[in-house]
């Protein structure tokens, strides 16, 4: 039967980036997307870092619908009823195109429209049921009675990747390896956002929160400013919430987060526009699937390319980079006429040379390091409490500042063997 060059399952960033590069090389590409349009099933926190993908993406994102350039980075430890934070801004972040907030339904749709102008077929409302096989080789996809045969199938179908699972490239998903993100997009006038977040027009803020936001569970909160909306949400480890006693209903975490003094004022008068949820790979390097098989490649979230470093969370630029590198691999395979796993292993080698597997590998101990409740309950209580004590003047005479801090640390156990061990462990990350 007639085979096209490539069929890409999933119109997210990795699939669309892959298709874009293939179209530049005149390959026959079909992207199938189960939603009404690419982006309609996709959710980000979130923001996209541009610098790492500048060369790989080329002109792909020229004119993209970015929301705001992130010039203010904030990070807060939330105790119970108090908090401390870091508020960073820098000229470098304002002058250079470092990272931008985006909304996926707008962003992915824009990229898909660009693809269609290049002659790529993007078929929406198309859910793939299964892979087609020829012996040991993947031969295409099947949706209902429809079949599309292709030399290569790219599994760009997101964190739940049914395609990679069916191909035996991805093991059954375990609660420990994933978190769920729950997000609200809240409308606020542009000027209000500028004022409340102390940024100029088209400039934005990224703010991460740890501690009471997840009631001490693995995870945290996030806030990103868009042009006329705010993306506010929480991320919580699936295993963490399963093991919590007494139980917490996951959907209530975002409500108590919004009730916090630190957040309430920022979103006051805002109108909720959309409520969304998405799963996030949390195992870093150790959670990556097999990346290729005969006639098949796995990209983006489907492969597990996501990295939580506590103070930053990344995924989308890994998706774009892996899509581009998958395209390079496919172009090479077509030139040789060989689509076997052996030829496609080039994909993994190239990823290892790129920031994708380098960053994930360098931070491979991060997920184990963060698998420690102290980061989400103990420290977020300790540090705000110390500051509170230092800042409070009561009726009693004030002791020396150094004594307040020293006693506070000592009594809290932060300087115990266990506490010091954690500090020592930080050199591994």
């Amino acid at each position: 039967m007639e085979k096209i060059d490539v069929v890409i399952v999933g119109g997210g960033l990795s699939g669309l980036a892959c298709a874009y590069m293939l179209a530049e090389h005149d390959m026959q590409v079909i992207v199938v997307e189960r939603g009404d349009f690419p982006g309609s099933k996709n959710v980000t926190g979130g923001r996209l870092y541009l610098e790492p993908i500048r060369e790989l993406a080329g002109t792909m994102l020229d004119g993209a619908p970015f929301e705001r350039k992130v010039v203010r980075e904030k990070w807060s430890l939330l105790g119970e009823g108090n908090s401390i934070g870091i508020d960073f801004t820098g000229d470098k972040f304002r002058q250079e195109a470092h990272s931008y907030t985006i909304l996926r339904a707008h962003f992915d749709r824009w990229l898909a429209d660009r693809l269609m102008e290049k002659g790529v077929f993007v078929i929406p409302k198309y859910r793939v049921d299964s892979l087609l096989w020829e012996g040991e080789n993947v031969a295409g996809i099947k949706a209902g009675e429809e079949e599309i045969y292709a030399n290569i199938v790219v599994a760009a179908d997101g964190a739940l990747s049914f395609m990679a699972e069916q191909a035996g490239l991805k093991p059954k998903m375990k609660p420990k390896g994933y978190a769920v993100g729950i997000k609200e997009v809240i409308e606020l006038p542009e000027e209000k956002i500028n004022d409340r977040f102390n940024v100029d027009k088209d400039e934005g803020c990224a703010h991460l929160f740890v501690g009471d936001v997840t009631k001490g569970l693995f995870g945290g909160g996030f806030l990103y400013t868009n042009k006329e909306t705010i993306s506010l949400g929480i991320v919580v480890g699936i295993r963490a919430i399963m093991e919590k006693s007494p139980t917490i209903e996951a959907h209530t975490l975002i409500d108590s987060f919004k009730e916090r003094y630190e957040i309430k004022r920022l979103i006051e008068g805002g109108v909720l526009a959309e409520y969304s949820a998405h799963i996030i790979p949390e195992s870093g390097y150790n959670g990556i699937s097999k990346l290729y098989g005969n006639n098949m490649l796995v990209t983006g979230d489907a492969a597990g390319f996501a990295l939580n470093m506590g103070v930053t969370v990344r995924g989308m630029e890994f998706a774009i980079a892996s899509g581009v590198i998958a395209a390079e691999t496919i172009i090479k395979a077509k030139a040789s006429g060989d689509y076997s796993a052996k030829t496609l292993s080039y994909y993994e080698n190239r990823l290892k040379e790129s920031f994708v597997l380098k960053d994930l590998y360098n931070n491979r101990q991060m997920s184990d390091f963060l698998d420690n409740d102290d980061f989400f309950s103990y420290y977020p209580k300790l540090f705000p409490a110390l500051v509170e004590k230092a800042m409070w003047f009561g009726r009693e005479p004030k002791e020396k500042l150094s004594k307040t801090i020293w006693e506070g640390l000592k009594n809290s156990g932060a300087l115990s063997m266990k506490g010091l061990k954690i500090l020592y462990g930080m050199k591994k990350i």
Partner: protein
């Protein structure tokens, strides 16, 4: 705002058949924890005492797949809704 009011703001295209099937025999015989009842961001799962069954309001599903991962007993048979159905994010 209650979670069902939040879901009412989203755009959904409802399929007539559920994309989530529950194996009640497994829920009854193996599952004590019933993670689905509190882990779903849409709070769509409930327990019907009369029929001794877990129920799911599949039409409000945000398609995150959290229940599929959390149901370690394998009682939740979860696929994506048919193409063109389910939640359609306008912002994402």
């Amino acid at each position: 705002m209650k979670v069902d009011e939040k879901l009412a703001l989203d755009a959904f295209k409802n399929d007539k058949d559920s994309h989530i099937k529950i194996r009640h025999d497994i829920c009854r015989s193996k599952c004590k924890a019933k993670f689905c009842l509190f882990i779903c961001p849409g709070h769509l799962y409930s327990y019907d005492e009369e029929t001794d069954e877990i129920k799911v309001e599949y039409a409000g599903c945000l398609e995150c797949g959290t229940c599929r991962v959390a149901c370690i007993e394998g009682a939740i048979d979860w696929t994506y809704p048919t193409g063109g159905f389910g939640v359609q994010y306008r912002l994402g």
